[in-house]
Amino acid sequence: MLDYNKYLRQQKFPLIWCAGCGDGIVLKSMLRAIDKIGLSKDEICMVSGIGCSSRLTGYVDFNTLHTTHGRAIAFATGVKMAKPEMHVIVVTGDGDATAIGGNHYIHAARRNIDISVILFNNNIYGMTGGQVSPTTPIGSRASTAPFGNPENSFNISGLAEAAGASFVARGTVHDALILDKYIEKAIRKKGFSVVEVMTPCPTAYGRRNRIGDGVAMIKDLKEHSVSVRKASKMSEEELNDKVVTGILVDRERPEYTDNYNKLIERVKGSNS
């Protein structure tokens, strides 16, 4: 079995995450994927924003950059363009990446820059106490939606696909081993890749919406997830309360740092 310790800054333990939080499952899955690829620690630059999941960068022994709310992908873009040989991985949440950081998320996908985004989707703002996020399902309760959320929610993966990402997958913490594969593929993929991970926040979401503790929420996730294959045979109505999991996009598109290098060569060539 993998010795996770070699990737962890153990002096920073215990983790800040609540009992029953899914974030630790994603952390381990990510480490397994990185280990499988065989990346050395100094090749990785891991960037995060603000939120519960973004605190992950404090616990891993890579080059880490814990930045400001919503801006992780913009920082990561700077890192990647200045040092394209680095593996740049962004750890972010639904609020961080698609509310305050939504713009950066869309434009990074459009550029198709070679960054892998691991997006922890728990449908809520955990750290600040349970406010509504862009993925809080309509009708759900949040501290800022005491009468139920009146807004439609985002399809985060669909957004990345539409904007031009090379690779998009959606997994859940219930199926952690499959998640390893998605993350591995995402990191290997040249281009903008997103793995949206459905993960429970019992503290700020589960309790308020009477789903229960972490275990109950993971069971609930299991019951509500269907594979892409299965989903393709289901009606929109049937899919209403479902989470479609699997590899949603895997395509070849020109990548941004490559394009940029070509540009440099062309401009230099025409100057000489």
């Binding site: 800040i16 519960c52 509310a99 600040t128 503290t203």
Partner: protein, 586 residues
């Protein structure tokens, strides 16, 4: 008079915040005064958090450092706070924490091992109820009537149903009996029931929200950010009763823009945030200045820059709030120092914004925002706040308009009569570009000069509404402290102690109205002082700089603090001594 300070300390995630706030309520129901400090780490779980409550039979000026009763839910709590325990004080802890009793006895304090977890378990509760047990024990040790704690439990858990209420009550009662019978005699500090005036418990954010509500706030847009969020949540919770549109936005840029939009069509709009969020709002702040839209931003400060100490306190955004701008436009900045002033300012800010048709920034900090204090009920006068909509044209006025309505009409005082969109006689344009009286883009130099002058003129006009600073204590004193915001409470206590030792030692000048600075009203208050010292929660003495900039008075001495923790009277007195030592040596 009897007074007592208790700390309940433990890990994040142990529910200290709600237990602490709940106990403040219980004490208030028992006729006691309270003053609390909330100290959280920026973590969801783990890490030391504590809630301090000072309670007294008499009104409380400020929290103070010495602790009489320490409730330790973790061993770390004992390590951190034992040094502040007074002789005769006590430390309550679960025996499973294996605290060395001798350490407590060395400080002449009483070790009180109480099986809080077992008590909770035996009453049918969970581990999480250890804090309910702890509060029950506090009541038992101090002779405080348990019924008040039970009534708060009933109120707080009402939504969760009778079963949860009953278990919690049982846990509290059983811990109470246990503590009272075994240790009640040895612990000498009491919190006995007081009868008399009806009071209430409120923190700064609640008071601002209430003030705004009374002043007709009907639109609030925000993005989650500690310590501003709870204003949004409070207004949101009451949105149905009072007809408030509340909108959580996708970021602070959107939040403030929504309020500018709402204000444009007539809403009384409020945007709560903290420094990081305010930074994102600066562009729209200028837009509000240019379009002359009344918005109120509540800037609840926390340490910066960037994420810094996210759950803590500081007063380092003052010059930023006053100066954050691209180009020049008028704004008003006010900063309450007490809960009552939070209430007043919450209403006043909305009035000032409409009166001067420009953004108002109401500044507090985490300490004031979250500190729960008792108030006499008549200190919050619901009738005192009157809605002032300034030069707003009524439908009748608009019916009578003949010819083109000029939204940005040049006037003597800079304030143009304001129509809201939706009347056939006053269909008007606005633009973020420089514009003429009709709101049409105009680049001509003479128009720019006139229009910019008109806008800036409002700063001068607003001076009429800017109050001089308040003086606390005697007019004449050897030392005059100068402060703003939350510092007032601990500073007042420090002043009282100095004056009790030697009369006429110290007084305080407290600034609430900070910008535009009413220099003519300020000078008589500031001048002829023997010795001025600013006391501020920042590194650079920003109030000192502001006063020098606006009044020319240069204050040479400062007591500063920027560790993310609130001032205490003890800290101020200690640093005063240091200043004096330095003065003598220098």
């Amino acid at each position: 008079m009897s007074e007592l300070t208790l700390i309940i300390g433990g890990n994040a995630g142990q529910g200290l915040e709600s237990s602490g706030a709940g106990f403040c309520k219980a004490l208030n129901r028992g006729g006691l005064h309270v003053f609390s400090v909330q100290d959280n780490r920026s973590r969801i779980r783990g890490g030391h958090n504590f809630y301090l409550i000072k309670t007294s039979t008499e009104p409380i000026v400020s929290w103070t450092e010495p602790v009489h009763l320490l409730i330790a839910l973790t061993a770390e709590t004992v390590d951190i706070h034992l040094g502040k325990i007074v002789p005769g004080g006590a430390v309550v802890y679960d025996p499973s924490l294996e605290i060395d009793e001798d350490r407590i006895k060395d400080r002449e304090a009483i070790p009180i091992p109480l099986p809080l977890y077992d008590i909770a378990g035996e009453a049918g509760g969970s581990k999480m109820m250890a804090n309910t047990a702890a509060l029950g024990a506090v009541a038992g040790l101090t002779n405080f009537p348990i019924k008040h704690l039970l009534s708060v439990i009933e109120d707080n858990f009402r939504k969760k149903g009778d079963k949860v209420i009953n278990i919690n009550k049982k846990v509290a009662e059983s811990a109470h009996d246990h503590a009272a019978s075994k240790f009640g005699d040895s612990f000498k500090f009491n919190m006995e029931q007081q009868n008399g005036a009806q009071r209430m418990v409120m923190n700064g954010n609640e008071a601002i929200s209430l003030g705004a509500l009374v002043a007709g706030c009907n639109f609030v847009s925000a993005y989650p950010m500690t310590p501003g969020s709870s204003i949004f949540e409070w207004l949101n919770k009451h949105a149905d009763e009072y007809g408030i549109v509340s909108k959580q936005a996708e970021d602070e840029i959107a939040a403030v823009c929504m309020s500018v939009g709402a204000a444009h069509v007539g809403a009384r709009a409020l945007v709560p945030t903290s420094g990081g969020g305010f930074s994102l709002m600066v562009e729209a702040l200028g837009l509000a200045g240019m379009l002359e839209e009344p918005i109120v931003i509540v800037l609840a400060q926390r340490p910066g820059p960037s994420t810094s100490l996210a759950t803590r306190t500081e007063q380092a955004d003052l010059l930023y709030a006053i100066n954050a701008s691209q180009g020049e436009f008028p704004r008003i900045v006010i900063a309450p120092g007490t809960i009552e002033e939070c209430y007043e300012c919450g209403g006043r800010a909305l009035n000032l914004a409409e009166k001067y048709q420009t953004p108002v920034i109401l500044m507090t900090d985490q300490f004031l925002a979250t500190s729960n204090r008792t108030l006499d009920k008549n200190n919050i006068d619901l009738g005192a706040i009157k809605i002032d909509r300034g030069a707003l044209l009524t439908d009748d006025d608009l019916d009578k308009i003949d010819g083109e309505y000029k939204r940005y009409k040049f006037t003597e005082n800079g304030i143009s009569p304001r129509a809201l969109p939706g009347h056939q006689n006053a269909i008007f344009k606005t633009t973020s570009d420089e514009h003429n009286e009709l709101g049409e883009i105009v680049e001509a130099a003479d128009n720019r000069i006139r229009m910019n002058t008109k806008r800036m003129k409002k700063l001068e006009t607003a001076l009429a509404d800017m109050n001089p600073p308040k003086t606390h204590g005697l007019e004449d004193a050897d030392i005059t402290f100068v402060c703003w915001g939350s510092t007032l409470a601990p500073l007042t206590e420090a002043m009282n102690r100095l004056n009790n030792e030697t009369s006429n030692t110290a007084n305080i000048i407290q600034f609430i109205d900070l910008f535009p600075m009413p220099v003519e009203k300020v000078m008589p208050v500031l001048k002829n002082r023997k010795r001025l010292i600013t006391v501020e929660g920042n590194y650079t003495a920003q109030l000192g700089s502001l006063l020098q900039m606006t009044t020319g008075v240069k204050i040479e001495e400062h007591i500063l603090k920027f560790d993310g923790r609130p001032f205490s009277p003890e800290y101020i007195l200690e640093h005063l001594k240091k200043l004096e030592k330095r003065g003598r040596n220098g």
